[in-house]
Symmetry: C2
Subunit: 143 residues, 2 copies
DNA sequence: ACAGTCAGTTCCCTCAAGGAACTTGGAGGT
DNA sequence: ACCTCCAAGTTCCTTGAGGGAACTGACTGT
């Protein structure tokens, strides 16, 4: 499909993938850890990890050779997918967090403040919401 | 689960929902239009629309009373979900667009430039990638 | 009266997810 | 040498969700 949303969903569209990515992001990099943390079936987890490695979102790395043991780490491509997770968190915090408030706080290392992520324009730096955007056909369009 | 990612995925985690949202965002607001555009089964589309309306992401609006005809429009909550879509598009454009380039271009109405969306810090306004963030337990944490 | 439109609903079938048990390759204890 | 444990999967069976096609109901236009 000539749609970047569909192509992105092709990589991480199925519901477990973002959660797997989050686990790797926060340092749960091993099969057993992820499986227990998420309560996902081992079969599906093995499939997803293989898929994410094939897509170059994760890298399978040996952390012990005897016995052979592996962990999963983010690639550059995968790290940028985590930006998507932070935007998800923002929405979830704003619209679905209960009374208690957000379960996790984000500190921006550059400025040291507790903050959240906001979509901004790459040209002018001002906030850029979906409602501030005008869509134009691009070079990869098929019409 | 005490995780805003999981809560967000609960609302739009299943693979068709983001595509449905995109269609509504670009003006395809009717059942028949969406069904034909996506090639989704009518059964599943009806289920998803009902779910998204229940979640207050979409609103079901009568646009003709006789015969009774309905369309779906974004709520405020839904419009902010579209920010998530724009971030998906950015990733898809960058990592999965082929030779041809992105299928759609975005013009930021505020500055008039063709641009893409970038995650920035709500406190200092500088770019804020997943790798620039330090995670801290928040008030809604359960440990 | 009859065909056409839109917004669904119903039915059946297939395929993918879940769960539990099993496998592999080695480490460590006795 | 043997038993047991562990991480990282693989295999097998069952159940549930998605796809496809046909049907329904409320109305319009000719």
């Amino acid at each position: 499909m000539a749609c970047s949303i569909a192509r992105t969903l092709d990589v991480i569209g199925e519901p477990w993938s973002p959660l797997i990515l989050r686990d790797v992001y926060v340092g749960m990099t091993r099969f057993e850890q992820i499986q227990q943390d998420l309560g996902i079936s081992r079969k599906v987890l093995a499939e997803r990890l293989k898929w994410l490695v094939d897509q170059e979102v994760l890298e399978r790395r040996e952390y012990s050779s005897r016995p052979p043991r592996y962990e999963y780490v983010l690639t550059g491509k995968g790290a940028e997918l985590c930006d998507l997770l932070t935007v998800m968190v923002r929405w979830g915090d704003k619209w679905t967090a209960g009374e208690a408030g957000p379960p996790v706080l984000y500190r921006h290392r550059a400025c040291g403040e507790i903050a959240h992520v906001e979509p901004c324009c790459s040209a002018c730096g001002e906030p850029m919401r979906a409602t501030d955007i005008e869509l134009l056909p691009g070079p990869g369009s098929n019409r």
